[in-house]
Subunit: 145 residues, 2 copies
Amino acid sequence: MQNTDAVLDELKRRGHRMTPQRRAIVAEIMAMAGHISPQDIVQRLEDRLPGVNDSTVYRTLDLLEEIGVLSHTHFGTSSGYHHAERLDHTHLVCNRCGRTRQIHIEALASVRDELEEKTGFLADFTHQAISGLCSNCREQLRPSD
Amino acid sequence: MQNTDAVLDELKRRGHRMTPQRRAIVAEIMAMAGHISPQDIVQRLEDRLPGVNDSTVYRTLDLLEEIGVLSHTHFGTSSGYHHAERLDHTHLVCNRCGRTRQIHIEALASVRDELEEKTGFLADFTHQAISGLCSNCREQLRPSD
DNA sequence: TTTTTTGCAAACCGTTTGCATAACG
DNA sequence: CGTTATGCAAACGGTTTGCAAAAAA
């Protein structure tokens, strides 16, 4: 499910009720890409439908996880959610500038395979950002030039 | 610095004072391997020297980070510390059974190099656990046999 | 009208802070 | 004795909970 209406329909189908809050929260979430944090939603909601309580947001996130639209992630220090069906990329987070870059999961296939071959461990990079140093910062840190 | 006395000496050298609490906390930390969480220390301290206040633990962690004995990490959802000089391994955390396995950083060298070649991003796997599925769980999940 | 959902307020957990007291050097 | 470290209590931010009131079906 990639769009708001489909999610709302699924909620109805399961006997959940439609409320302006729920509509707004789901719409906000479906409009977000990548990492979804409860507090982000709370903030963005200020414009769309002011006065929505934090706990309503948390409860809606739980609900969406229950029906499989979202799942948990751990990106660095902040835990959060992501779209369950959009797990086709990984985040590369730079330690220095903090910028995040997405790369498609396919680019990591051979990396994953090699790790698996060596250790038997099948890595799932989509559930965790990879931290390191981006090419920009690496250039800036280079002593000469 | 890998042992308690060396750390305590370094603290003295810098003009910090020795207290039973500080000794106990540092000893506890130096005895820990891998991921070091404030709450773990608080708990373990119950035996060694009961009554030490949480804030003392937090302040000591700050202090040890200041003098370079510890540094921050992000392991999954819980942030914490690790020994600054023991950064030679990575944790593989299994999504299913939760077990953590350490592998030496060298085993990931080629993985890191390949990622770098493809993306220009220099991954530092020591600051973040890699999540996935361990070989045990993979066997158990295998449909037949 | 029944049942779900909401807002509110309180509680929670881990962490941080200010301040008076204790203790190191 | 001067100064640092500690304990305590209060505050914090993000999250969770119980409950009464509001709203959906």
